[in-house]
Assembly symmetry: D2
Homo-oligomer: 303 residues x 4
Amino acid sequence: MQVRTDLAVEATGMQEESIAGIESETEEKDRIRIDRIRIKSPDAAERVGKPCGNYVTITVRDLSENDRDEYEEACMCVAKELGDILNIEENASVLAVGLGNEHITADSIGPKCVKNLLVTRHIKEIMPDEVDESVRSVSALSPGVMAFTGIETSEIVRGVIEKTKPDTVIAIDALASRSMSRLGRTIQIADTGINPGSGVGNNRKELSEKTLGVKVIAIGVPMVVDAVTVALDAMEATGADEDEIHTFFETYKRMEPMNADMVVTPKDVDSLSSQSARIIANGINLALQRALDREDIDRYGHF
Amino acid sequence: MQVRTDLAVEATGMQEESIAGIESETEEKDRIRIDRIRIKSPDAAERVGKPCGNYVTITVRDLSENDRDEYEEACMCVAKELGDILNIEENASVLAVGLGNEHITADSIGPKCVKNLLVTRHIKEIMPDEVDESVRSVSALSPGVMAFTGIETSEIVRGVIEKTKPDTVIAIDALASRSMSRLGRTIQIADTGINPGSGVGNNRKELSEKTLGVKVIAIGVPMVVDAVTVALDAMEATGADEDEIHTFFETYKRMEPMNADMVVTPKDVDSLSSQSARIIANGINLALQRALDREDIDRYGHF
Amino acid sequence: MQVRTDLAVEATGMQEESIAGIESETEEKDRIRIDRIRIKSPDAAERVGKPCGNYVTITVRDLSENDRDEYEEACMCVAKELGDILNIEENASVLAVGLGNEHITADSIGPKCVKNLLVTRHIKEIMPDEVDESVRSVSALSPGVMAFTGIETSEIVRGVIEKTKPDTVIAIDALASRSMSRLGRTIQIADTGINPGSGVGNNRKELSEKTLGVKVIAIGVPMVVDAVTVALDAMEATGADEDEIHTFFETYKRMEPMNADMVVTPKDVDSLSSQSARIIANGINLALQRALDREDIDRYGHF
Amino acid sequence: MQVRTDLAVEATGMQEESIAGIESETEEKDRIRIDRIRIKSPDAAERVGKPCGNYVTITVRDLSENDRDEYEEACMCVAKELGDILNIEENASVLAVGLGNEHITADSIGPKCVKNLLVTRHIKEIMPDEVDESVRSVSALSPGVMAFTGIETSEIVRGVIEKTKPDTVIAIDALASRSMSRLGRTIQIADTGINPGSGVGNNRKELSEKTLGVKVIAIGVPMVVDAVTVALDAMEATGADEDEIHTFFETYKRMEPMNADMVVTPKDVDSLSSQSARIIANGINLALQRALDREDIDRYGHF
């Protein structure tokens, strides 16, 4: 009877009392709110349904508005939080993986994001004298979705990791939220990797240090809520009790098997996903390359 | 307390008793069901919230399945029903208008469809001796959405009509349905034009004989349902009475203003919209050009 | 025996002596060179094959390099030169028209450019109190190409002009150059409109004050050279005389009729066309809206 | 002084006399011509600059024309020739690799092609009981280009091969031709893999049995000619002798270093590349899946 969410801030916030083994802190800035959650004990992890680790949630007012200051602050904030959670050595190399299906707008953040990354690995390999030593080696991959490749995304990523030996993977993906008000407004950075059932397509296998053998940072933005969420909101708003909600769930499942394949998404999902993808890309570029700063925002889009 | 639907078959079917002034008939084929509804009196039109005219609804089992026979039957069926409802003279010219935003998958049927039309007007104008007389003059336009053009779609279409003088307009658009089970499975053909509030974006002005001065046939496929639909389904399924539903609606409206900007859409919306766009395009090509038949399906895509 | 060029700076420069009725001046900046040519007499116009009017050519070193300073200077320079040549009243309205085929990379500058414009007309029309009076009314259109619409681009534009009554049209298009070294490095702004034979597709009708009834500013970037140019360069480089070149032209025409449908284009045409489209869009935004400045560069892309 | 070509039929045909160690045969059909070349000895391979192996060249009249019969014949012909050259066991698995940059129209055949393949590997792995045993396991990958990934394409492919263990790789790529008349009209199938310098981007590493450890079939369509080709054609047409041509080459190289980055491409490169990609995809589908025949052409496009 649990509603799916990929956000730790929602999973932990849904618990009524505070939970042993979970630490959290909140930082309110002018326009941006940052929640840092640490799930420390396996007990707590099991209770909230998220693996142990650090989860940073950055919440802005509205990414779809054309407020350049807020946009740049969001980029800087992603860079700062990602830098802290990455905590990698100066010359460590990174592989960025854009997950999802670029042909479904709500699922396209990952592929869109990697198109705006500053990719340097080939230059460092082929013309090492051409680039400053301080430039970090960054490679990028959009592996596509299993329906089109016939291959588990994790298999493709593992194959490429074995050949290119990055020190860290950053995986970018669209997420599912419990709340409509978070869509396109929240960016989650986690050092736990990507776990099954995430995103719009729910058949992705885990991408984590356990499965890939290297540290995996996951960055995502919620772009959909499960359709059933709307129904639950409705019932709660009208004071349905737990029995009624249970009955609903049972009925709902029988009612229309295809409901499971429905998602709720904002009407302006196209600009939301493009904007989010660019903010994450800028944040990654700034976090990985020391020589870049706020003036370099939006400088490395291929298109 | 009314839930939005662009389908006459839903608007009329929602009424409990049969309505004076509305005629309907149903034809069941092997894999396809056709509902033909005629709204005859202004009274009936007002009751169901749809203008007087003819509405044909073609329902298939599942367009996303790769069943070539069903696909071709759907194309032939659209051609046949469109031909009947068009009822135009042999040498009448047609302008096809693909409405919607090609960057939002669920709203992209119109622009995708016109890319698969056999366009002939320029050949007939420039090299009339090169084409057989029986070839009908067809032009096509994707006017874009107001957020990107700054211009009402209807203004663009009217401007082009005045310059090119087509005898008939066929407008293709994504629709909203009341029922999730209809998404990507139903094609509606109507001789009433496109009316406000249709589609994913609800700010389109009417495109009809009244506003454009020529006959307007509308073809659409439901690709979204309002998020509130899911909530209502839930409440009905659990036996909520009318008072409870009313309370819910009031609460819901206050709850989250942004809910109004949420839509429910199938996860495989990309293949559904591409497939639907191609079926409609094939149907239009076959209906308009006498020389084409089943073997010419899928022959005229630009991409 | 004339080789096609859409650039006045090439057409006039090909003449050996200076031509009566043509004025020109050159401004060299740090990284950017500006040539301003004025064709004043019909005689001169006929000699160089370009209509009377003003042509400004902005030449940068290399748009494909990721030099942010050069990029922003190019944007500012387009804004300044366009502002001078536009010379419009404070509250005059503008329609931007993106010409060309977005599916052919070398021909996609126009459609790509209008996607990055700040479009305001609908806001001023629908919610005039929401926007400051100083905001200029800007609308934008990508009419598509005749092969897909069946309609002359000029007919579509004229129809939309009659409905929306802009004071000025800005038309953006890909151009053909005589010289490979200019591809993607030169931006031409002219107050003479767009003339037949321009661009990658050579079947466009004139878009000018004469045909549209409003002032037409044309902005373009050369993205192709005719294949025959390479041959001529070769012959000249090896010292062929005029007779030999004449013989070649005759032979060439007979040789392969499809040669006429070949163009030479840079291998990195994708990033060149995207970059050029963004520079022009930024220049237009800055020229049209007084409230914007260098900090607002790249702020208004839809995607 | 050699002009680049990826076509064995051109490389061998350029030799004046017949070459020991090369066998060839030609089959003329109604609308299609098939040249089968076998380079048997290392000596011959070195002379023509192509590795030992089999090269089949299918030449049609014009793929851009909308002649459905010719289109389907081309699909069937690719299926037949590919089947012969593949010569794989009934249950052997295949990985199709779409090489090239989907954002450059002339280089997009590979990525476009794999979008139209019938991909089955995941179904066979996850739900083996759902598919008939006769269905061959097919997976597909568009690895992207090194400028965007920072990784050699061959490294990505090798990584995926090691994880997924296909028996054979089919690599699809855009090619360079010596002759403008071949662009978009010729399909080459070779059992030698893809070799350096092929395609629009010339920095790809070899993809062959030697480097990948599995059989590699390469399928390609010429979409560009080197700009220098046009110059050479010109000189030959005007009777230039070898010395003059040599002088030209020397001059040409000094003249404009950027010439090397120029290619000649047909104006209708968008429809040519889409059409070619679909023909190859249909050919692959028909060659790999015994249950499919002519009626299944165009059935498996994702978009």
